[in-house]
Point group: C2
DNA sequence: AAAATATATGTTATATTATAACATAACAAA
DNA sequence: TTTGTTATGTTATAATATAACATATATTTT
């Protein structure tokens, strides 16, 4: 068993969230630069709003905020920015919540397993190679070849369950 | 590694689908009887429509059919029946497709891993204990306790990939 | 069997999530 | 600097889902 690659851990309530957002935004800038794609003001702002917390945000909640900032904002304004950010791996959609979370490791081809706390609403992201391999093996037993997997695990995080609160969070 | 519990396998194109539907419907009847819940005509019909193929069906596609059969059919007609059938484990929602598939093993508490072929559209369902355990272990490493997991794997089934076509399907 | 209760369905309205299509603007390349 | 490309503005509408209350049907109690 290999060590889990934790992309976005659960954070303590006391963490300085601005650092999460700042870091993600600057990784995004660099990544867009090196890929030759444009992180426009709008896209950057949408990414910032996605990063306003570790809880997934809804497209129309983003829109409500944008409408106070840019006249002419409409659903396509948001959905197009989200589409770009998803294509670049900077945002992931949580299918079971119709909501979006930021990703600080914008590789095009990593997989994700999301842990969603139904108490605090926070989402953690990992890409665990053992999980990927096991699912791939089991699928292969049925003759199935995997292109993409959606794994969204609901439960309760350490902080909310009151255990491990000091040692399992960053 | 334990053997995968295949709940709904991929089927050959030539399979007699009526048998799949008939079997699921009669299991549903028996299960509802033994649970003391009512598989009404409407619910039975909706379940039958869900079982009209192994491709997931959309709520409004069900509605379109119902409208030709019962005057007064409306979205709640379908969504309420689907909710009942999901609660009873006879239907699962595929979150990433906003669609519904039948389940022939209506336990209240089994988990599911769905394999979704993007070529033929068919969905297979398994409940593999190794996958559940591995994900639970990895989540526990982060202090997370799982209530429910959503696993939807996209790819290509054996028949569509042209391999194993005779030996991996039922 | 009749009344009371609980459950299921009918009905209207609306909320939520997302995309199509075409116009204009901003940027990049030639 | 004009040309092409990419991004955004704008209007409209499609697709998915739920709220709220009325009526009907089934079940239980009297």
């Amino acid at each position: 068993m290999r060590k889990t690659n934790v992309i976005t851990p659960f954070k303590k309530l006391s963490h300085v969230h601005q650092q999460c957002a700042d870091s993600a935004l600057s990784v995004a800038e660099e990544t867009c630069n090196s890929r030759g794609v444009r992180l426009t003001k709008l896209r950057r702002r949408v990414l910032e709003l996605v990063w306003s917390s570790h809880e997934p945000i809804k497209a129309y909640d983003i829109l409500d905020i944008l409408r106070n900032e840019r006249s002419g904002s409409a659903p396509p304004t948001v959905y197009r920015a989200l589409e770009f950010l998803q294509d670049e791996g900077m945002v992931h959609k949580i299918e079971s919540l119709n909501s979006y979370v930021g990703c600080g490791a914008p590789a095009h081809n990593h997989a994700s397993q999301f842990l969603i706390c139904h108490s605090c609403g926070a989402v953690a992201e990992m890409d665990d190679i053992d999980i990927r391999n096991l699912i791939a093996d089991k699928a292969a037993d049925m003759g199935f070849k995997i292109d993409k997997e959606i794994i969204e695990v609901k439960g309760i995080c350490s902080q909310c369950s009151g255990e491990y609160s000091s040692d399992k969070k960053c």
